[in-house]
């Protein structure tokens, strides 16, 4: 399916600070939204920072078609995200969207969503879509500390939420892969959607593969264009080098040559 892409000045309608490192940016379009799917992302121009030359990609955290607004969940990493964190209601932000493919719909009702850090972003959107199909997923979210645990009420609308923190200050202590639902003999899921730091995704993919659970991950390769023309964002797949921004960001792990060369 070919979805038309927009290059638009979106209006910042809210900038909600979740904690020291994370915030939510709500952006509104002057026009009617096209169809947007969970797993897709946007490319944001950070025009007021002298050290951001290229756009910055962010997953779409949620979409409100009634208001033609979408939300991004952003983690402050460097100059670009720091500048975004300072935007105010009414500011304007140039965005290309919607980009990339999307999570596929599951052929099962036993669904687990796993996210870590800012990687949880696309999962909220996905959980909502699953609900429309009357699927009530288990949602396993990993955070650094209790302080960073956020939006649990939002996720709880769509599924059963489980939490891990690195320091045990909330939920289970450890990484998401240390949580009983994934560590147990045989996880009770037939499909996993996963998004987060690459080592986390690889660990989840390993568990999934071991138990023959279907698993889709959303990759965060560095991008120059975000719409398929520069060939900078590639990942090796069973079909050769594919573009994460067009053929991805979502890949079924059985298509990725993961586990061969670790750094």
């Amino acid at each position: 399916m070919e979805i038309k892409k927009f290059v638009q000045d979106l209006r910042v309608v809210q900038n909600i600070r979740l904690n020291k490192r994370h915030f939510i940016l709500e952006l509104q379009s002057p026009e009617k939204f096209p169809l947007i799917l969970p797993g897709q992302f946007v490319q944001v121009l950070v025009s007021n920072s002298p050290s951001t030359f290229l756009r910055r990609p962010f997953s779409i955290h949620s979409v409100d078609y009634a208001n033609n607004s979408l939300r991004l969940l952003v983690q402050i990493k460097g100059e670009g995200t720091l500048h975004l964190s300072k935007l105010h209601d009414g500011d304007s932000l140039n965005v290309i969207y919607p980009l990339g493919n999307s999570f596929s719909l599951p052929a099962t009702r036993d669904v687990l969503l796993v996210g870590g850090g800012a990687g949880v972003a696309p999962l909220l959107f996905m959980a909502k879509l699953l609900n429309q199909d009357h699927i009530h997923p288990t949602i396993l979210l990993g955070f650094r500390t209790k302080e960073e645990v956020s939006e649990i009420e939002e996720y709880s609308k769509y599924g059963t939420v489980l939490v891990t923190t690195d320091d045990g200050s909330a939920g289970e202590k450890g990484l998401v892969t240390d949580h009983p639902v994934l560590k147990g003999e045989r996880p009770a899921f037939r499909k996993i959607y996963c998004c987060g730091p690459e080592p986390m995704m690889k660990a989840v993919a390993k568990i999934a593969t071991m138990h023959q659970i279907e698993c889709e991950v959303s990759l965060e390769n560095t991008m120059a264009c975000g719409f398929g023309v520069c060939l900078c964002c590639i990942t090796p797949t069973d079909k050769g080098n594919e573009r994460v921004c067009v053929e991805g960001p979502v890949f079924n792990v059985n298509r990725l040559n993961w586990g061969q060369e670790e750094k």
Binding site: F53, A224, L231
Partner: protein, 304 residues
């Protein structure tokens, strides 16, 4: 009405704005943003003899006002191009020019010969920045004699407009320009990327899998302008100018320095609409300055 049309060795372009090889795919993706027919032309991604996977990821590093890439000519080869890509792009209402690469003279010749047969491709751009595998990896574009040789070999089999794209990583760009002129080039494209490197100080590793890569974007504009100007004065061939063009003012600068046609490269990544906007901005400039035909501005820099 301003006349934006230009002409390179008999080949006309409706306006001087084209897109740079490797930054515009095969034009397909951009059709979601605008009609390529609004541009003077598009230079499509490098085509080689056989399929190439390109380099390993990571292939990109952001740098001050620029970026490094080490894509490494990823493409599916000339057969695939003729069979799968050409039919999709042959009816674009603009000049479609193919960037041709290779590691041996035979490869360049083979690809050029095949493209010569494609009716709706009026021109090729030889990318001679690739290392010559037979001659120990020294790039064709850095040794004048090699540059003449590969140009002449392609010239023999290629009957349409032959452009040669030079690497800026040389002591004397005019020497290289003269070398490809001697080889029979119809036009010279300036510049390809500058060889650079980025380091991640935290991990103490190069950012690119290939350690070094090609620098593009506004950072290189001063170097590109200088080379266009030097070659314009030294060699009597039309020039296709590029390197860091982000807006119409940048484009006018290249035209004043001597470029008949300009290419927009890295800027496409930041604003997919930029090339069309540059066409409009050039028109505005011409109106404001009372310039009837864009050709009046080519090389019109005042240095008295």
């Amino acid at each position: 009405m301003s006349d934006l049309s230009v002409n390179i060795a008999g080949l006309t372009f409706k306006n001087p704005v084209t897109t740079a090889s490797g930054t515009f795919g095969y034009g397909e993706e951009f059709r979601e943003f605008f009609d390529p027919g609004e541009l003077g032309g598009i230079f499509v991604k490098a085509v080689t003899g056989k399929n190439r996977d390109g380099n390993a990821y990571p292939r990109m590093a952001e740098t001050p006002s620029g970026m490094l890439n080490s894509v490494g000519l990823q493409n599916k080869g000339i057969d695939h191009f003729c069979r799968e890509i050409y039919p999709k792009i042959k009816d674009f209402d603009t000049r479609v020019i193919v960037n041709v690469s290779g590691s041996t003279i035979e490869e360049y010749v083979e690809v050029a010969e095949r493209i010569n047969e494609l009716e709706n491709i009026p021109s090729i751009e030889l990318n001679i920045s690739c290392p010559n595998v037979k001659l120990g990896g020294m790039a064709f574009g850095t040794v004048p004699a090699m540059a003449t040789e590969v140009t002449a070999a392609v010239r023999k089999v290629y009957k349409k407009v032959l452009m040669v794209k030079l690497s800026p990583n040389v002591t004397s760009i005019t020497e290289l320009a003269k070398a490809v002129a001697d080889g029979g080039a119809d036009a010279i494209t300036l510049i390809n990327t500058l060889l650079g490197m980025a380091i991640d100080a935290e991990r103490r590793r190069p950012v690119l899998s290939t350690i070094t890569g090609g620098l593009s974007g506004p950072a290189i504009k001063p170097v590109a302008l200088r080379m266009v100007w030097q070659v314009h004065k030294a060699v009597n061939l039309p020039i296709v100018g590029l390197g860091g063009i982000m807006n119409a003012t940048d484009a006018i600068e290249f035209i004043l320095a001597g470029a008949s046609v300009i290419q927009v490269g890295t800027a496409n990544f930041i604003d997919p609409m930029v090339s069309v906007n540059i066409v409009r901005g050039i028109e505005d400039y011409m109106k404001r300055h009372n310039v009837g035909a864009i050709t009046e501005l080519v090389g019109a820099l005042r240095t008295d």
